[in-house]
């Protein structure tokens, strides 16, 4: 990044956004740097380090978990609300977003705004109805946030905080990769509310199978309130494969992505069902 001439570290979001508006596309926001300083975009003359703005920490706000823009992944994964949310699946997703050394510097907001199609956190967040509060006050649902590979609805705004709604859901997360230190071949999350021994409000999200992380809404509808047997699970596999648009690249073929996406969503739903059984048994024992 040898064209870089200016490093600024504003202490408020308003200041940061004002600078960005003024400098335009010669300026980039810098949070943890684990994407920007790896990608090293050409032509950038100004870096706006946002880590001093007032958007830190993780806290519970009613039923929401609120994650500030400058909260580090390593702190987020340790927070009690995150550790226990959805049976540990959220924590797992954050831990698989990158190695420990990266999580000590990276932010969740940064990971989301980088908008990689294979962003590991995104699939999990989509199943928890994540909402982004922007610097201009607007609230954007995560499933409307991604526009294309590395493209979001943002122009000059910053994400101020991310709100998640675990709501006592059951959830499973899975990242399928060649190695524990790789970008996903396919990643996915499923979550659902347990009620009367069935799954409701099912959410299914996948990454690396489309230009952005996506929800598989048709497949979700397939499962809503149903009695789920082997035939339904086979339909789930096929439905997922219809909803995604994977590409072939040198990591693997589109065919394999489709095959494994369907299979792994089916296995995740089976996982939810066994979580459901366990929870019903526990509740049965309590009553």
């Amino acid at each position: 990044m040898r064209e870089l001439r200016e490093y600024l570290r504003p202490e408020s979001i308003e200041e940061a956004v004002a600078i960005k508006r003024e400098r335009g596309c010669d300026a980039v926001y810098l949070a943890g740097g684990t994407d920007v300083l790896v990608l090293k975009p050409r032509g950038v003359t100004t870096v706006i380090d946002i880590m001093a703005v007032d958007a830190a920490g993780v806290h519970q706000d009613g039923e929401a978990i609120v994650i500030g823009a400058t909260a580090l992944l390593c702190d987020i994964e340790q927070h009690p609300a995150v550790r226990t949310a959805v049976g540990g699946a959220l924590r797992q997703a954050i831990r698989e977003t990158g190695p420990w050394l990266i999580r000590n510097a990276a932010t969740l907001a940064g990971n989301v705004c980088n908008a990689s199609p294979s962003a590991d956190s995104a699939a999990m967040l989509l199943t928890l109805d994540a909402e982004l509060t922007l610097s201009d006050g607007a609230v954007v649902s995560l499933d409307r946030f991604f526009v294309g590979p590395h493209e979001t609805v943002l122009t000059d705004e910053l994400v101020k905080e991310i709100r998640l709604f675990p709501r006592g859901r059951l959830a499973r997360f899975h990242k399928h990769a060649r190695s524990k230190s790789d970008i996903a071949l396919v990643n996915l999350a499923v979550s659902a509310r347990a009620k009367d021994g069935a799954l409701h409000d099912v959410r299914i999200a996948l990454g690396s199978v489309a230009p952005t992380p996506i929800r598989a809404r048709e497949t979700e509808r397939l499962l809503e309130g149903r009695e789920i047997d082997a035939a339904v699970l086979r339909d789930v596999e096929a439905s997922v494969r219809r909803e995604i648009r994977p590409i072939s690249d040198w990591r693997t073929s589109a065919e394999y992505r489709a095959h494994s996406a369907g299979l792994l969503v089916r296995r995740a739903v089976e996982g939810l069902l066994s979580d459901l059984e366990r929870r019903s048994a526990e509740e049965g024992m309590d009553s």
Binding site: S179, W250, Y256, S260
Partner: protein, 771 residues
């Protein structure tokens, strides 16, 4: 030979461990030179093109740019970058800068500037016009009639057949394999495909070149071969050897990628041109594209046997892709045949190989040096044959493998070096390796047998696979090591070695040998190595030669010093020198009289004796005894997802003598891990235009700490009479095993044969018919 060893055979702490653990260990780039210039490379975007015109002068307009050179600024001398004995058996087909480019990433021009950023700017000013030529992008196309000629330049030599792009060709036969296969009652034939693998040494290639105060060229460089480097750079620049001084500091990994002069010649040219120190360091991207890689090959194995399980014929045919230049072209593929083929007794053995040029990345030396490819094919084929014959693969191997006392018939015909002599197996611990290894993996109980899956089985299925391996210890008849050891006033010894410790711990192992002979603790041996002005001659770190060859030479040098000590001590004690033994820092007689080494040296330097204690030794040999391995792998296959997860790899290895057990284990553990990547995840992927698509650690996947299966290493010692304290080599042989062991384990688990590396989920599912 001493039966109770004090130093050799124990896991002594490495002599460089303390400084490496504190970050004080100095590697090539850990020094600062005033006036240092940074070199950068302009490389070709085309796989095959002539440089029609090139103008580097606009780069010199930038203040702070001291040099910008192209082929027009360099003497045109064909050379090979392969670090081997002289005359090198590789084609002389490289030029420091050339007027033609032969792969994407080939050198076009180079600059040297006061900062890396200025150097980058300078590159952008260089004007080049290419005349693009049709490329050869598949090794199967290289020899076809009408294929473009990649090395059409008249000055190159040592190429087997220029018009057919054939860098080298090998044909070797023992007996008559055609007849042998005719006689067979069962035959198997299959094709195997192995990929480009990259070494990913953590330390990239880096050379800092400067002129010292006498005008001599100094190369401080990350190399495995300081002396070969000195000779080869002198040759390529047409300057006398005496004007070149090579310094090898700590090296951050070599694995064969630094058994070449990759960055040295160009760094030297720039230093001579600018009269300033110049650093040429490959970026990680350049490591993945323009450094060297393992030769991809297409192998065909034919085996013939009788129903009783005895072999009648073994035929290996290989097509090798040596890439744009023929560095190590002949010798790597020579090893593909010579290392595996003697493993099983057969009266008829044949090896045919064509090594072709392509407009693809340069293949070169990589740990195993052709043997991993050969063993993947042979051990997969043998496994298949055993199953064909309804024999336990372990029992088949036990019945057929080469025995102690046997002669290796292939070695006579296929010697890699200049000596053509048949190898005799004077030591062979393979039977014990088979026993102990199979027990450790629980072979009898855990094998599944390769039967088709039944309906209620899966998706997770486990299986066991195995292989046997052998390698060599140095290049038979083509190695020379020298060492000298001088005594200091505090009864310590300075050991001068030309060998190159590249992380293998050879400084430590060789120091242990000297310490043992002289009867002192390892701390009393100061090991100095790798500086061509100050230490003795050695071919360097390759072919698993250092412990076996340099080790024997250190033994001789230490014994020489001990004889000198004994002579003086004999006079001081009035005893027969031959009767003295050296232990605990003393020379002692059987009668109990002794004198300390400290007293001896003071007497030598300052007393009546007025003499030095300085031992010398050299060693060369026509022997190259193989270490033997029995390797066993357990895998878990997910038949729906196609993944192959390694659970446990057991390596039982006969190394003759474990000079330092922890170091020996470490060598095995590292080699196995590199080969797990070769088997399962590593592959340099190339675009249809010849460009590497995955030139980063994120995209090219080596095993990380959390991917690892359990590793069990069993050190077996069947003493080798020709080795120092009975030792053979350890550095390479284990890297040959995981690929066939895992492929065979997959067969045991799910009944399908996978013959192309790496074993990706795509391939597994297609083989299972599930995709």
């Amino acid at each position: 030979m001493a039966t109770d060893l004090q130093i050799v055979g124990s896991s002594q702490r490495k002599v460089d461990a303390a400084k490496l653990s504190t970050g004080r260990g100095t590697f090539t780039d850990d020094i600062f030179l005033p006036g240092l210039l940074y070199a950068k490379l302009l490389t070709s975007p085309h796989a095959h093109a002539r440089i029609a015109s090139i103008d580097t002068t606009p780069a010199l307009d930038i203040p702070g740019v001291h040099a910008a050179i192209s082929h027009r600024d360099v003497k045109r001398i064909p050379y090979t970058s392969a670090g081997q004995s002289w005359p090198e058996p590789s084609p002389y087909d490289q030029y420091i800068l050339d007027n033609k480019v032969r792969f994407v990433g080939d050198y076009v021009a180079a600059v040297a500037a006061e900062t890396p950023e200025l150097a980058e700017e300078a590159l952008e000013r260089i004007r080049v016009e290419y005349q693009v030529l049709p490329p050869v992008l598949d090794m199967h196309d290289a020899m076809k009639p009408g294929a473009p000629t990649i090395h059409d330049e008249p000055e190159s030599h040592g190429i087997f057949d220029v018009d057919r792009n054939l860098a080298a060709h090998i044909e070797v036969e023992v007996g008559n394999v055609h007849d042998g296969l005719e006689k067979a009652e069962v035959c198997t034939e299959a094709d195997y495909f192995v990929q480009y693998q990259q070494h990913t040494c953590l330390e990239p290639h880096v050379t800092i070149a400067w002129l010292d105060e006498d005008g001599r060229l100094v190369l401080r460089t990350s190399t495995q071969i300081p002396y070969h480097c000195r000779r080869m750079v002198a040759f390529a620049l047409d300057i006398p050897v005496r004007d070149v001084h090579v310094i090898k500091p700590r090296v951050g990994g070599g694995f064969g990628n630094k058994q070449e002069v990759v960055t040295e010649p160009l760094a030297a040219v720039l230093a001579l041109k600018t009269r300033r120190p110049v650093k040429l360091e490959y970026s990680r991207r350049e490591e993945f594209t323009i450094a060297r890689m393992r030769h991809p090959q297409h192998l065909t194995m034919r085996l013939g046997a009788r129903r009783d399980g005895s072999l009648t014929g073994v035929h290996m045919k290989v097509l090798t892709n040596t890439g744009a230049y023929g560095t190590h072209a002949l010798t790597v593929t020579g090893n593909t045949g010579s290392k595996p083929l003697p493993l099983y007794r057969s009266p008829n053995i044949r090896f045919d190989a064509d090594i072709v040029y392509t407009n693809l990345p340069i293949s070169g030396a990589f740990r195993g040096y052709g043997a991993p490819q050969g063993f993947f094919a042979l051990e997969s084929a043998v496994d298949e044959l055993a199953h064909e014959l309804n024999l336990d693969p372990l029992e088949f191997r036990r019945a057929n493998h080469i025995r102690k006392g046997d002669v290796d018939p292939v070695s006579a015909a296929l010697a890699e070096g200049s000596a053509k002599k048949a190898r005799v197996m004077r030591s062979n611990g393979l039977p014990e390796c088979l026993d102990r290894g199979s027990a450790a993996i629980d072979w009898e109980r855990k094998r599944r047998g390769g039967h088709p899956l039944v309906a209620d089985e899966g998706p997770l299925v486990r299986g066991l696979g195995m292989c046997c391996l052998m390698q060599g210890s140095g290049v038979a008849g083509d190695e020379l090591a020298a060492a000298s050891i001088k005594m200091n006033e505090d009864a310590s010894f300075t050991l001068h070695l030309g060998s190159a410790d590249i992380g293998t711990g050879s400084d430590t192992t060789l120091g242990q040998i000297a310490a043992e002979i002289l009867g002192v603790p390892l701390e009393k041996i100061l090991v100095q190595s790798g500086d061509t002005d100050h230490v003795s001659f050695d071919y360097g770190a390759y072919a698993s030669s250092t412990a076996y060859i340099t080790g024997q030479c250190v033994l001789k040098a230490a014994e020489d010093a001990r004889r000198q000590l004994a002579d003086v001590a004999g006079r001081m004690l009035d005893e027969d020198p031959e009767s003295l033994f050296f232990r605990d820092g003393k020379a002692a007689s059987l009668r109990g009289r002794s004198v300390s080494l400290q007293e001896i040296i003071m007497e030598c330097l300052y007393g009546e004796e007025k003499t030095l204690i300085m031992g010398r030794g050299t060693h060369a040999t026509k022997e190259s005894p193989p270490p033997f391995v029995a390797m066993f792998a357990e895998v878990e296959v997910d038949v729906e997802l196609g993944t192959v997860r390694p659970i446990h790899v057991v390596t039982a290895i006969d190394i003759g003598k474990a000079l330092n057990p922890a170091i020996c284990e470490g060598q095995v553990e590292g080699a196995v891990t590199q080969a797990l990547g070769y088997a399962l995840t590593e592959e340099i992927v190339i675009s249809p235009e010849g460009r590497v698509l995955n030139p980063s650690f994120m995209d090219y996947k080596i095993f990380c700490a959390d991917d690892m299966p359990k590793l069990t290493t069993i050190l077996v010692e069947d003493p080798e009479p020709t080795g120092p304290f009975g030792a053979k080599s350890v550095a390479e042989v284990a890297i040959n095993g995981p690929a066939p062991a895992i492929a065979n384990a997959v067969y045991d688990a799910v009944g399908v044969r996978l013959r192309s590396l790496p074993l990706t989920p795509d391939k597994v599912l297609r083989a299972l018919g599930r995709m």
